[in-house]
Amino acid sequence: MTFVARTWNRLTIPGRVLLGLFLLGGLLTGALIALIIFSEPILELLGANLPLVRFVGAATVVLLMTIPTAFLIIYMEMKIIALMNLRLGPDRVGPFGSLLSVVHGLKVLMKEDFTPTGADAPVFTLAPVVTYLASVMTLLVIPFAPGLFGQDMNIALLYFFAISGLGVVGLLMGGWSSFNKYSLLGGLRSAAQVISYEVPLVLSVVGLLILAGTMSLNQLVLNQAGWFTDWYIWQQPLGFLIFFIAATAEANRTPFDLTEADSEIVAGFATEYSGMRFGFFFFAEYVNVFIVSALTVTLFFGGWNAPFPFPEIALAFDPGSLGIALLILVAVVPVVGTLILAMPFYLLRSSMPFWQALVIGFVLFNIVAVAAVLGWAFVSLEWVAGLLWFMLKTYTFVFIFVWMRGTLPRVRIDQLMGFAWKWLLPASLLNLFVTAGAVVLVRELGA
């Protein structure tokens, strides 16, 4: 071992880099060879358990997806609220401060993970995990794009509500085990709030389910294909309103963020948490925002459907038919494109040296090329277009959530409960009955 260490120490920096690259290349090559040799049995094994593979793959992807999603939403929240407050917000780390949330994440990782005296340590440790997993698992049933979903269950909506309801268990665990009265109050508040709002939340969707006749989210999205007038929002405006309000409360967002009302009960259930355990709570909150927005879009705004039937552009041109000319094109087009794009700058601005014009041309060419590839993907790959529409709609709702947080003060706990039971519940029941009556009426008249 000392020999290896000594040899390593004697290397220069470029030598170390080269050696590392060399070793890495060797490893990868070996792995590739092994894969090719054993590809048949591996593929067979995977093919035999396809649903399981699909589930594990989807769970991994979804789990990995939550982190950048949370970062993005945290950044959006910091930046949008800052702009509404007439300040700039994050603007130092990365372009327009966009990496600040990443830095926050690293900071949270590096902080001391502290367990207070008197806390119930196992429960205290488990609570963030429960909350985080509950929100991550709900992502499995959300259809992001045609064919791009974890699992197409026929009871997807039921699964969604069941699992997202588990999140409150984590909050309650955290509040109870922290051995802090503020945490306890926060945990109890969240329990009361989530249980109250679960009722109108579910009831508001029942009307929609009667209309659609299915609980599969994928099927619901397919039902809304066509023009934007086919979206369920036009048939269920009251249902949407109730759903949106109740979902805000479910996600613990302003004006219903009583569980972590910092001016009253410090940070609620998260008062005693620090380090990555707090990070899990924090991430779960923002993943929840994404999930709630995604579900709203899926149920009422046509999911990944475009707002109008997109004209089919048949690509008559098949790049594969060019043969060897394709290779030549790949070699020639970047150079020619860069030159062509650089020309106007060089010719029209006499003060500009040629290399600067070349740089500008290269950058422009890259932009054009990326846009072209994306446009091609958008047109020819169905799931890219679907994903883009879905994300566009979802982040619109995320923006609305952040906007509300920037504007509204917090309601009081008794007003919150009163609102749920006295207004939302009757309204959702009314919505349900009216919808049911209308469906029966239409069916009778149609028959």
């Binding site: 005296t117 109050l185 963020d257 009302a261 009253e264 009960i265 509204l408 003060p409 009081r412 008794d414």
Partner: protein, 406 residues
């Protein structure tokens, strides 16, 4: 006086470090000394104490509130103050008359000009000095600007304690403009040290006047625009209306003054009730409201901002020419006597009571702070309300702990 118990207090650093870490209960470690303390620190069935502060996101400084709760409902409340006590009155007894002005400056640090004004007026009475009229007008002008800054900040705090993030930053922008302006006039942004015995420290300058003129043209619109965020907001209004209600007679009994008293319908304002400076020559109204709840206290301060703008406008139009300092020796030794002077600060009657013994240091300087008086009635106002309302009521009284703790 001897300590009533051999058990030391939890505040003693020697003890907390040596003893094993335990759970901090707000119950004091000695037998109760008064009836009230005994009554408060006895828990009923299903009640618990919760310690709000001294480190808490929204206590407006280092204030500790011991809440006795029944669920989320506040049964009783015991404010514990003194964490910021600096003994300013004692320091003033050991300082030159001129030095005391900067000693009292950081008391109510949100509206520091009023802190200077009351002692300075008291000293002027002791010395029988007549302040030049231009100095008086400059004092009124700058003090009213400071009042607007203070009220603007109050608006933001109020919203922040109710969970609104945005208004505090908007009002800080508003306050920052005024404070920059006063910085151009006085030389400092927060603790001005501007009023001197017999006048003010510097005359109006171009920098100040141009900033003021620029701001005056858009102040009203800007403040009004900021207010639409909250004034018609259903959540805000529903939370504030009928909360922490007090009637005029009780408020008078609790020695309330300022906007808090005026929100109960009594038009008591030192500027009119016992006119000082040149307020008698100025034309302005005393806005009142009759409800006496948090919303009334909030809205009343907004009305006051408009009146302050009127006063500033008149000051600018009537500003006389002349000296800004009375002729006084550098070392002042007032003849023995007593003087009481009160000004209407943004929080109420801010008063100073000075006794001179003929030396160059005040024999006694008593500072009367309105926040101190208002804070003691929080307990009455929030009884039976929820925890969330404790903060709302606290915020609506607008206490500044620097002034409370002296």
């Amino acid at each position: 006086m001897t300590a009533t118990s051999s058990r030391p207090s939890a505040d003693d650093p020697r003890i907390t470090l040596d003893q094993e870490l335990g759970i901090f209960e707000p119950v004091p470690p000695y037998p109760p000394r008064t009836e009230r303390e005994a009554e408060f620190y006895t828990l009923g069935d299903g009640q618990m104490f919760i310690n709000m502060g001294p480190q808490h996101p929204s206590t407006h400084g280092v204030l500790r509130l011991v809440l006795k709760l029944e669920g989320e409902q506040v049964v009783d409340l015991d404010p514990v103050v003194g964490y910021l006590h600096r003994g300013v009155e004692k320091l003033c007894e050991n300082a030159d008359y001129h030095h005391t002005i900067s000693q009292v400056d950081p008391l109510e640090y949100i509206s520091a000009l009023f802190n200077e004004w009351a002692p300075v007026m008291a000293y002027e009475k002791l010395l029988d000095v007549e302040v030049p009229r231009r100095a008086e007008y400059i004092r009124v002008l700058s003090a009213e600007l400071n009042r607007i800054a203070s009220h603007a900040l109050f608006m933001g705090w109020m919203a922040l304690d109710l969970g609104g993030l945005t208004p505090i930053l908007w009002s800080f922008i508003e306050r920052d403009e005024i404070v920059e302006m006063l910085g151009a006039l006085t030389g400092q942004r927060m603790l001005f040290n501007y009023f001197r015995i017999g006048g003010v420290n510097g005359d109006l300058n171009h920098d100040f006047m141009s900033r003021l003129g620029d701001w005056m043209t858009r102040a009203t619109d800007q403040i009004e625009a900021n207010l639409t965020l909250l004034n018609t907001n259903e959540i805000f209004v529903r939370r504030m209306r009928g909360l922490g209600t007090i009637d005029g007679q009780t408020a008078l009994q609790m020695c309330w003054t300022g906007p808090n008293l005026r929100a109960t319908g009594l038009p008591f304002d030192i500027r009119r009730a016992h006119p000082f400076s040149v307020y008698q020559e100025l034309d302005f109204d005393i806005p009142t409201r009759i409800e006496g709840d948090c919303l009334a206290r909030y809205l009343l301060r907004l009305d006051e901002i408009k009146q302050s703008l009127r006063i500033i406008d008149q000051c600018l139009h009537r500003m006389p020419d002349g000296p800004i300092m009375a002729k006084l020796p550098r070392l002042i030794r007032p003849r023995p006597g007593r003087a009481y002077a009160a000004v209407e600060s943004p929080r109420g009657q801010y008063a100073a009571y000075a006794i001179s013994d003929g030396t160059d240091q005040p024999f006694r300087l008593r500072i009367h702070d309105p926040s101190f008086i208002h804070l003691q009635s929080v307990g009455q106002l929030v009884q039976g309300q929820l925890i969330a309302d404790t903060m709302a009521v606290m915020a609506s009284l607008d206490p500044v702990m620097g002034g409370v703790d002296k």
